[in-house]
Amino acid sequence: MAAKTFKRKDGRKPEEFRKPISAKVGIIPNADGSAMWQSGKTIAIAAVYGPKELHPRNQRDPAAGILRCNYNMLSFSVTDRIRPGPSRRSTEISKIMEWALEPVLLIDKFQSMVIDVHVNIIQADAGTRCAAINAAAMALAHAGIPMKSLVSSIAAGKLDKTVVLDLDKYEDSEFEEGEGSTDIPMTFTPDGKLTHIQIDGKISKEQLKQAIELAKNAAKEIYEVQKKALKEANKK
């Protein structure tokens, strides 16, 4: 437990996540399901196409349907422009997204089919994979994909010696005081199971447990926002 209150650059308390958080469903008419997720200054949009036939045939799974995620940042979503096209980072995050979402999908009966989830980051201020996963989960539900539940994603971490929630870009990339920063993006099911966790930085076992607990509770609030967006989708 931190002895004194740690001061974050944007004035947040250690256990506070960024605001506003907002979500909207059905933003892309062509898609089978779509959603937008915003956390502070990070904005992600997701579109689901499928289930549909998977080409090439040799990638088909005759036993079940396949989830295929594609994460990409728009070139101008960051202050230092990203050259358009895939990168190693976006390829890894695409896979991480699949692993974060698959545990709740019930797609066994869609043999040889694929469900494509495309996510683009419109504006980035760290936490982009979490925003992507939150948007993707809503879009999958919106598309009518059978699921056990949604998943909700948020990062916790550490700044110097203090465990914090939801690091922004400054905290993730530029904070260098003391022990520096540690970023731990995580994804939870509503009943508290972890479907995704990564750690970038140093942290002790005790503080890791604190971070996970912090994120798990925050994920519940994220879930409520996702749920509300889906329920309000049809109100025009």
Partner: protein, 265 residues
Amino acid sequence: METPHINQERIKKFLSEGKRFDKRKLEEFRELEIETGVSKNAEGSARVRLGKTEVLVGIKMNVSTPYPDSPNKGNLMVTAELLPLSSDRFENGPPKFPAIELGRVLDRVVRESGFIDVEKLCIKEGEKVWTVFIDVYSINDDGNIMDAAGFGIIAALKTAKIPKYDEKEEKVLFGELTDNPLPLAKHTPISLTFHKIGKDFIVDPTREEEDISETRITIGSYDGNISSMQKGEKASITLEEMDKILELNEKAWKDLFKKLEKFVK
């Protein structure tokens, strides 16, 4: 889904009677909405909605060396991507021809019209100039991404601000903007595309109308001056038809200029 043949037949038949499925006139554009400053890490940005078609445009800038044959001019690079997000017709992967053509046509609209005063983008002749990157992304494709993107580019360029440049350290302070807008010309190049279907020409096709377009002409122009043109797809046009298109362009340009002014002063 590709537009079914029987629908295509109906659209053509209706058009030959001067009518369109959504009750528009042949020379009428769908409702246009533009919002600028939608992506705050960009130097400038715009979201354009033309009917159900939606496009995002972002402007980024960086300092680099000029091209050897234009040592006192800034650089311009226009790229377009047809995101798989925006349609079941676009796949993940390197840009295919439609995206490549889109980028190149839009590049010519901006470059050849001299909309950006590239000489004012020179920091130190022969050594340092600003490069303006214009990136276009489709968000929902219901036809005419080309024109929607063109409107977005104008809106984004007009509202963009130049980033701070540290002369001593010789680096751009990304994320910190000055109050200075881009050096732009007084004229506004507007890019409009005319599609031939049967004997008629329409503007702003929906995706199903675009599916039956036999050929299209995209014209970039300002104040009666034509600065770029691209004819695409297979059918041919007569010289009389060309005259007609140029006339239509003049009328449509005035209409769109008024509409754009509403969103960007």
